[in-house]
Symmetry: D4
Subunit: 219 residues, 8 copies
Amino acid sequence: MTLHKDVMLDFARGARTGLDEAVLCASKSVPHLAAILEQAQAKGRHMLLTRLLPEQLAGLSHEHRTAIDYEPLSRTGYFGGTHDLKTQTQVAVVAAGTSDVAVAREAARTLRFYGEPSVEINDVGVAGLWRLLERIEEIRGHRVVIAVAGMDAALPTVIGGLVSSMIIGVPTSVGYGVATGGETALRAMLSSCSSGLVVTNIDNGFGAACAALRVLRTQ
Amino acid sequence: MTLHKDVMLDFARGARTGLDEAVLCASKSVPHLAAILEQAQAKGRHMLLTRLLPEQLAGLSHEHRTAIDYEPLSRTGYFGGTHDLKTQTQVAVVAAGTSDVAVAREAARTLRFYGEPSVEINDVGVAGLWRLLERIEEIRGHRVVIAVAGMDAALPTVIGGLVSSMIIGVPTSVGYGVATGGETALRAMLSSCSSGLVVTNIDNGFGAACAALRVLRTQ
Amino acid sequence: MTLHKDVMLDFARGARTGLDEAVLCASKSVPHLAAILEQAQAKGRHMLLTRLLPEQLAGLSHEHRTAIDYEPLSRTGYFGGTHDLKTQTQVAVVAAGTSDVAVAREAARTLRFYGEPSVEINDVGVAGLWRLLERIEEIRGHRVVIAVAGMDAALPTVIGGLVSSMIIGVPTSVGYGVATGGETALRAMLSSCSSGLVVTNIDNGFGAACAALRVLRTQ
Amino acid sequence: MTLHKDVMLDFARGARTGLDEAVLCASKSVPHLAAILEQAQAKGRHMLLTRLLPEQLAGLSHEHRTAIDYEPLSRTGYFGGTHDLKTQTQVAVVAAGTSDVAVAREAARTLRFYGEPSVEINDVGVAGLWRLLERIEEIRGHRVVIAVAGMDAALPTVIGGLVSSMIIGVPTSVGYGVATGGETALRAMLSSCSSGLVVTNIDNGFGAACAALRVLRTQ
Amino acid sequence: MTLHKDVMLDFARGARTGLDEAVLCASKSVPHLAAILEQAQAKGRHMLLTRLLPEQLAGLSHEHRTAIDYEPLSRTGYFGGTHDLKTQTQVAVVAAGTSDVAVAREAARTLRFYGEPSVEINDVGVAGLWRLLERIEEIRGHRVVIAVAGMDAALPTVIGGLVSSMIIGVPTSVGYGVATGGETALRAMLSSCSSGLVVTNIDNGFGAACAALRVLRTQ
Amino acid sequence: MTLHKDVMLDFARGARTGLDEAVLCASKSVPHLAAILEQAQAKGRHMLLTRLLPEQLAGLSHEHRTAIDYEPLSRTGYFGGTHDLKTQTQVAVVAAGTSDVAVAREAARTLRFYGEPSVEINDVGVAGLWRLLERIEEIRGHRVVIAVAGMDAALPTVIGGLVSSMIIGVPTSVGYGVATGGETALRAMLSSCSSGLVVTNIDNGFGAACAALRVLRTQ
Amino acid sequence: MTLHKDVMLDFARGARTGLDEAVLCASKSVPHLAAILEQAQAKGRHMLLTRLLPEQLAGLSHEHRTAIDYEPLSRTGYFGGTHDLKTQTQVAVVAAGTSDVAVAREAARTLRFYGEPSVEINDVGVAGLWRLLERIEEIRGHRVVIAVAGMDAALPTVIGGLVSSMIIGVPTSVGYGVATGGETALRAMLSSCSSGLVVTNIDNGFGAACAALRVLRTQ
Amino acid sequence: MTLHKDVMLDFARGARTGLDEAVLCASKSVPHLAAILEQAQAKGRHMLLTRLLPEQLAGLSHEHRTAIDYEPLSRTGYFGGTHDLKTQTQVAVVAAGTSDVAVAREAARTLRFYGEPSVEINDVGVAGLWRLLERIEEIRGHRVVIAVAGMDAALPTVIGGLVSSMIIGVPTSVGYGVATGGETALRAMLSSCSSGLVVTNIDNGFGAACAALRVLRTQ
């Protein structure tokens, strides 16, 4: 099969969202990561590093380490800077419990890398409903709501009934017993009785941010 | 092993709650059911029939059929009357969606058989939060709340954060896809971030009512 | 708790997307459905009926039956007309195999009810990659792509790598053996190596359409 | 939405059981825990710490550490004292095997924190039935029985047939092979042929105690 | 590979227990069953038919039908008579609930076919412990105890702690919700805290009887 | 309930098999183990220690350590000697692969503790059928065969078709991918097409030995 | 993206194996099937129909029905003839039990459609090992062995240790209890301790035949 | 049973593929491995070591260690050399992502040990379809394609539609959330809509290579 050049260019257009500038670090060796950073540096490209463990970071060269803007809670790093920040905040990242904040932060950091500002609203789990209701108007003002929750994951359902924005549920692996691993949170979100919720993989704050970017960039 | 008479009496005391006057009919043949009713009649005892299918009812003799006070939604029947109704209503049976009402009704009918009045509050799923909030004061006034919900089963979590009563969650098999069969609802309830919720088997309205009876009868 | 009137109005705003005009019929009795239609008629409201089985339709009165615009493949019905059709087509509904078309059609019919035109593109499963590539430019032209697939559900992954639009994956229960019930398709979509895909419950074409409506109505 | 002050007070009443004075420590960092303790100290509040690992405790400041009444088996700590102890013992906490005692102790310690005395009865698994029967009269004298068991979790079923009190089953993750993780114990309890048992999440001694508190405080 | 005659005879000895004279009928067509019966008749052999559905029986020829000693509860049939009955009863078949009797009967009928008498003891589930204790001495007198139970399947655990005989647990598919299908009963039996229980597949009364035969025939 | 002395003695008879002289050590702390050993020593009793980890053994006092006859592969220890060895070998313990030997050894060591000699036959997995066939006559000569196998666990099925002895299958957690944890081996054994196999929990060599003891001691 | 003609031709080459001439009928409506047959007829093409239910066949027109060579056990049909039969038989299709023959026959019929002769060897399950050993030389003579088995699915493992040919395992849904649905058979095959076995989806005789065709056609 | 010598030889023929010269090291102790190497050395045999962990390697004697040609990514070692390399490359080993390369390398190294050259093609996951299409002609030129992929595992499906070679899918345990452990990848491959794919256990690169060897050696 001869693949003509224009076909290739055509395909390449699919990459223009820039979502391919991210690297999932967790399962990669330090030398492998170093090689990726070399390449990015050589091409002068930005790079978003997700699931970058502290011990991986510590293993990199001083030069690489200092070139990374690292945020430990979300375990994300920016290598070589970020995209320019837009002025309008269109995304709210909402977390049910304090243990869900790491995943929410990954979403916010991913958005920031691609230039999208977001507001983070934490600790509004529905077991303390008044906390959510105090902030529901603020949430409602955003085009996209990323709702991060573990355990029974009731948060996106309740928000989905109060807000007409796009709502992306991110189940987290927080919890013990039948909640361990996030499978219950995932299935509860998929079974939501609120119409039009969509869901990502467990702990996938990066993916939720990318979905928000798909929405915001194609109008 | 010689089991002395007093030992036996002692054991028998365990049966005094009367919870053993119920028969789960679904998997029994019509002749088998008829024989049970004969025995109850001979001993002049009340009998609560649960999961009594219409076709089972239709197969019974005219005499038996007319001696049964049947409620089709919950598929429950009272044979030979019920216990005397108490005056104080201490249980609220709350159902999230219209499809959950059959299970909620089984709970209410079981309570009524044993003489406990209850109030049924339906269609207060948390995807339409205002419906629940309009009735939360009414719910709060009861010692025991039986919260029946399928799909993502967020209802007992939200009630649990607003009400300090005993709350018994009953997951239902309502739903499709990952909600089918009630496993998701069950696990979401068990993972609830509201403290002190307890849960029964899927679709087990009868069991929730029995748990309420255990609470109300031992003060 | 005294809920003031303005609070209630505030909550009611959450319902303004109109997504609450839909009724999931499958598990409801014919009399129950008839009562819902009466109410809708009395209030002069539109109503979208999903999972309306032919035998349920046949059980309704002549008057109700003729007031329903029924589409048998998707098992959807419009009662009392639909919302006005917009002029711009912003959604592509893409189905991998012929057996996935019923779910895709449910999405398209839901969109149409709420006034959103869509284009349906069928039989583009990735086992015959050229079929998808022939139509990829057409797909790319839409703001939202609903990708419906069962079995190994590779379709949204491949589209996700070629198109920068919002992509909503809908797993279907098509298949046998380990594919039965759609769990494999669901998990494959959630595990997708394409960034920013979001997913609904199995066979939930209605939910995908509602998610698309959330995106399109909040700009 | 303007949330009036009285509405907020109203909601706050939901918190009056005091069940929100507990912190699940396991997944929190030491600095995070220290900050929580600072806040509690500043407000002069009691605090129940659950799943507090020895290494977390060791990481706290000397001042904090000495202010915590720590019990290593249950991994619970009281910070700033406990509620006043009531005089009447209304709860029996029963454990099937020696490995279940840690979870039973968590329940007893939670009850004690909130001022409820309880009696602990250990090593009465039904494989040695006579051990249970020797103590059944003692168990029967309590309004609430918390039955903690792993593996096949037959204990609450047997107690449920002998005692008319409220019975809360707590499955534990004790065991190996198909018992690993407590899923079998959980499902066996939910399937119990004793009427009116209710169940909590796996290893959730804290939750069982909270359920008992809901029962005892609302008469 | 040349398989010498003596090798074959050697292998054939493995078949001398006669356990191969049984046919599982459920998934076979009526003509297929008829052909099997023809062969057995031609060779003058006994045949045990298990899971023989009434509609399969009805479809057989008059001659075949009358040659079958059919027992409807266990759905077993004896074709061409049975083995001679031994005089000593060495097996007790114990069933927890009335719904478990069908499986227990399959075990007893299998034993009877191969000439082993057994005693059936029903309705001794541990939720009514006194029923079991009244008959425990009788159970203890047998070399092999087959304990049949569904739901939480606590029966064999309790018997295992009271009796030193060989105990074979047979989980049944009786129950609803998490008990459906017998998986919970199976896992609870395998996790039993009574030492030395062994277990068969769900609803496999035939298999338990064969295991008993293996024990009784090799002393 | 007054439990008379004779009742207690009666129950105690259930314990006469001596199977209660074993302690599962894995989840117990070293001080807890030490206390158990003290008690045993004080009463002059034998004790079988299973799943005794090397680090637990190392933590015991010199006196205790030297009083334990430890076998590292099976992680079993004899404390205070064993029961007298019988002369006739009635049990064959057969292991499919070298990784299954640890579990097989636990069975053999348990048998030895209770005075039952056994023969161990290793490395006869059916992927090398000739290895099994070379030893099948030897296996056949025993009243009880304990067949230990992981992965696809075909060994007991093949033996079951060649030998008429009692066969106890012990699935092991050996393997990776879908074999991890032994669930596949367990289910394959339960589904065996050889009649009359019985099965224990995963890795439960101790339980299989106890089942053999139940068979051998009640003739 | 402009897809040039030569690119298309190139892709089309992928279809030259002819494996796309098959239609899975089970989930299709009769009119849908009729339309497919019309198209095939119009183009003069052969068509292999799999999972064609008798009631679907009965619903077709007389003309279509008579043009189909139907085999009821495998539920396969040839429409418009088959490919020419090759002379050399290179595939053995081996079935463990009589209930597995339907799936084995689907494989054989698929091979025959594409012109590959095969030999069918049935009833050689390993619980009766001698039956397999009698035919192992015959099996060994083929380049590809398709081994069809349900329940514990030990057949391909045993064959894999005796034969060096390509072996394709096909798990079947035959069985009850933990065997139901074929999941156990599938996992046992994947865990096989014989090296180099490969596996298809449950009941997928068609897929195994296609895999054999891929092997035989590319030398 | 007397097994005659010729029978044994016959069986031994099954071993002639040499696939039994491999040892799975992961779960073996260092002394156990050393003993195996001694034996191999004594007999002058080659040995393929799979899943040989670096710490195991480090624990071996200097002599053994230097006799092993170790490749760390795949964790494979050649002891005592390899089989002679053939000249024609008939196998392509294709990996979707960089994290799948370890498993792909295990396949390639296994092939090399047995003398089969292969080409490794990495980083051609279908989320970047153009990368695969650039190399599809190269892939097509091989008789056997081993397609290694984790997560949603769409790679073999897409290749299967473009290439008529034998395709062996190897799911990997790469991924997080619902992808963890490779179960999703496995099930997606088994559900593939491309005809004639076959699959191995998760991460089983060795098994895929052995399957390829079965194909290539029996023509």
